[in-house]
């Protein structure tokens, strides 16, 4: 047990160093940094368009008031900060690294290979734009709704967001494991990305089948809908439990998939 704790602490330390190095590297390219933020803001605006529709139509959407939809969209924007800022770059770079050989060296390091391959790069700029933007949007939506701010609700919201981020991470590792078997991963990565986009709308807008699939099979709704439902006081007990348990289950499944993928790579035909 202490060994595991030590390893976790080591990985956390390495991650913080990597985050710092990434940030410094990016700041060396001012234009990229600034235009990256502009791009992320542009994407943020397109996400808000979905809430705009609800406002302009002046109607409830699946029983949710426009301001409530805004809360959901805010959570989506915040979660995108994790996806775009922390996970996405690594997904897109993995197949390239496998092909040019820079992945090989990672295998020789005394740190978790999955950790190095999936979390090596991060983009602090995009992360901050989305997390801060998302929190602002959520706050605006929440403020325009009746009812007081309750601290325990906010804490629960943050907790479920973190669980959602863990599920999101696991869901990005799964397609990456296929890169080892399929070779070029670009198409797969953008497909995974489009699944992520489905969170732009609250899960209640989807039909029963969609809700089931998105909660239990490919639990994308855990990432943004669950925390929002909690914040708005619309979540069920069963959902809270699943929201806390699912990350563990999916992290495990994704880890197994990753290990199988790496085994295929090191033992296989050498794609």
């Amino acid at each position: 047990m202490p060994g595991v704790c030590r390893e976790l602490a080591k990985h956390l330390r390495v991650y913080l160093i990597l985050a710092r190095m990434n940030a410094m590297s990016q700041l060396a390219y001012r234009t990229n940094f600034v235009t990256g933020i502009l791009m992320e803001l542009a994407f943020l605006a397109t996400k808000l368009l979905y809430a705009l529709v609800a406002f302009r139509a002046g109607r409830t959407v699946a029983g949710l008031a426009p301001n409530e939809v805004l809360v959901f969209v805010g959570a989506f924007i915040t979660a995108t900060g994790f996806y775009a800022g922390l996970f996405m770059m690594n997904i897109f770079q993995l197949s390239g690294r496998v092909r040019d050989g820079s992945f090989d060296v990672l295998l020789t390091k005394p740190v978790s290979l999955q950790f190095l391959a999936t979390l090596w790069r991060s983009d602090a700029g995009m992360f901050l734009v989305d997390v801060v933007g998302g929190v602002v949007v959520t706050f605006i939506g929440l403020a325009r709704l009746p009812g007081p701010f309750e601290l325990w609700r906010i804490l629960g919201y943050v907790f479920l967001l973190a669980c959602g981020a863990a599920v999101g991470y696991a869901l990005t590792v799964l397609p990456q494991s296929l890169v080892f078997v399929l070779g070029k991963g670009g198409g797969l990565a953008s497909f995974a990305g489009s699944l992520w986009e489905l969170n732009n709308l609250p899960m209640t807008t989807y039909g029963r089948l969609g809700r089931l699939l998105g909660t239990y099979l490919v639990p994308i709704f855990l990432v943004t809908s669950f925390p929002s439902l909690f914040l708005l006081g619309r979540i069920t007990g069963a959902q809270i439990i699943w929201g806390a348990v699912a990350p563990v289950a999916f992290l495990l499944v994704s880890r197994l998939a990753w290990q199988a993928g790496v085994r295929a790579y090191t033992a296989g035909g050498g794609a």
Partner: protein, 275 residues
């Protein structure tokens, strides 16, 4: 003279085949690329169903009935992928790396070669997306109140061709910014998002509000996605459709002229300053 023409044609054909070969080599991404349109389509179909359900039947919102809006969502998203470019990055790279030097001798040749290569790569993508479009139309016609009017097809074909040319020229101009900017970073991507939104590629422009819609009506962007979509969905009567096509053609010419002007002044700056 004919030998030179044949040689030139051969070069274009080679570029076309290179582009096609490139696309075909990446089997998996070729098959998956129209999937990128799936998420927005699902999102919008779900959204509109819910929003219209909250009102009376036969309601219109933003000038569309429910079925018209659903048709718009599907067609616009697919067309958005169809007219998409991507060569602006390569064009920018060419300008930056100085590879343009060899192309300076034949300016028309460079433009033509780029188009050929782009067309080759696009062909594979277009075939797949085109199939999806045809399939979705069948579904739409059978499941909603949208009628199938074959009469719109010639107008649509024309509008689509003009849309492809127009979008190509718009992003050609974007790529030409490389002459003036030392680094662009993610600027192209940011611009692309804004342009697609202004083209009606996400929601019809009426969603953005009356003022925004009025401003955007003066710009060429709506002819790349919104206009062909509405033509195909039969929302535009023959008279206005013809006027729209004429306007679309006019914008294409204007942008071609702009591209030419930017190209020339950019090359002058390039030759004087270097990359």
């Amino acid at each position: 003279m004919s030998a030179r023409v044949a040689d030139r044609a051969g070069k274009y054909l080679r570029c076309f085949r290179l582009g096609l070969q490139d696309a075909l080599t990446h089997r998996a991404s070729l098959l998956l690329s129209p999937l990128g349109a799936v998420a927005p389509i699902i999102l919008q179909v779900v959204l509109w169903n819910r929003v219209y359900a909250a009102g009376a039947a036969g309601d219109t919102l933003f000038g569309f009935t429910r079925d018209e809006m659903l048709a718009y969502a599907v067609v616009a998203n697919l067309l958005s992928r169809l007219v998409r470019t991507g060569f602006e990055y390569e064009l920018y790279e060419d300008i930056k790396s100085g590879g343009l030097d060899r192309m300076l001798v034949q300016p028309i040749g460079y433009f033509g070669l780029r188009i050929a290569r782009f067309a080759g790569g696009k062909l594979a993508d277009t075939a797949v997306t085109g199939l999806c479009l045809a399939g979705s139309l069948v579904v739409l016609v059978s499941r909603t109140s949208i009628g199938a009017r074959l009469a719109v097809l010639p107008a649509f074909a024309l509008a689509l061709i003009l849309a492809l040319c127009l979008n190509f020229l718009i992003f050609w101009c974007v790529g030409l910014l490389g002459f003036w900017l030392t680094e662009t970073g993610f600027l192209f991507e940011a611009l692309r998002v804004v342009i697609v939104t202004a083209s009606g590629g996400i929601f019809p422009l009426s969603v953005l509000g009356r003022r925004a819609e009025a401003v955007l009506a003066l710009l060429p962007f709506r002819f790349t996605i919104q206009f062909p979509t509405e033509v195909l969905c039969g929302r535009i009567a023959p008279g206005p459709a013809l006027a729209g096509l004429a306007l679309s053609a006019a914008w294409t010419l204007i942008l071609a002229a702009l591209a030419g002007r930017l190209w020339r002044s950019g090359l002058r700056r390039f030759a004087a300053v270097g990359s």
